[in-house]
């Protein structure tokens, strides 16, 4: 199982890199599915089976399908417009890339200076998660439901076709 963690972690990093560098939107989204599956395996190996299932069902199942529907609605299956050709030259990504690498060095230094400990001794069962979710975190569940309702109304409002005053 320890080996599974390292393999899934490597797959997640490689797939995520491919997501950010692909030209085609569809290809990037398919790599994003691979990345999310890999992170789900990482969750499982760390003893969190409930969120591993949620990762597959909600992220890979619902959110990516929403992305794919949007891409199909917009009919941009091929190259991602001028973005792909103009923006993916080294001159355009070297600056943010170097800055992010510096940030990564800082994060690694902070994490490495902490205490040594190991994770994954005991799986945290879904029952415990449910008890915590509807016990001390009940107010958070209420807030999340309010947020989802607001997002539903917002998406409905933005998505409706209305007559523009200037005839567009």
């Amino acid at each position: 199982m320890t080996v599974a963690f390292y393999i899934a972690g490597a797959v997640a990093v490689i797939a995520t890199l491919l997501v950010v560098t692909r030209r085609s939107t569809i290809h990037a989204l398919l790599y994003l599915v691979v990345s999310l599956f890999a992170v789900a395996v990482v969750f499982y190996t760390l003893g969190a089976p409930f969120v591993a299932a949620l990762e597959v069902i909600v992220y890979a199942g619902a959110i990516i399908v929403l992305f794919l529907f949007t891409v199909m609605l917009l009919n941009i299956g091929g190259e991602a417009g001028p973005d792909a050709r103009r923006r993916l030259r080294p001159a355009s990504w070297i600056g943010p890339g170097v800055l992010a690498a510096v940030l990564l060095v800082g994060l690694v230094a902070i994490i490495a200076s902490g205490a040594n400990a190991r994770v994954g001794g005991r799986a945290v069962e879904p029952r415990e998660v449910g008890v915590a979710l509807y016990g001390p975190y009940a107010i958070g569940v209420e807030l999340a439901s309010t947020l989802l309702l607001a997002a539903l109304i917002g998406a409905r409002h933005l998505g409706q076709r209305r007559r523009e005053p200037d005839g567009r």
């Binding site: 599974a4 992170v39 990482v42 959110i63 923006r87 998505g159």
Partner: protein, 102 residues
Amino acid sequence: MAHVPFEYGLYLAAVLFLIGLVGVLVRRNLIFVLASIEIMLNAAGLAFVVAGARWERPDGQVMFIFILSMAAAEVAVGLALALLYRRVFDTLDIDEASRMRG
């Protein structure tokens, strides 16, 4: 269960988060920007789950569920905005939004 050092899970979360950050900074296609934001949120959730597994408490997984619902809400509004953006500007290049008025 895997017995991996605590730091390795956090390293993985940091690397994934920074890949997402570079995606937001470099890509100019609205769909790619939204996907990169998803990557960053997922990495933040991974950090919570790693910490929850470290202390063998369910709190990390509870926080991941909240992040998950937040990501779902964000992507619903974001993709509706993408559809609207495409209708108004006839492209998905977010630099075009600099000529927005009012």
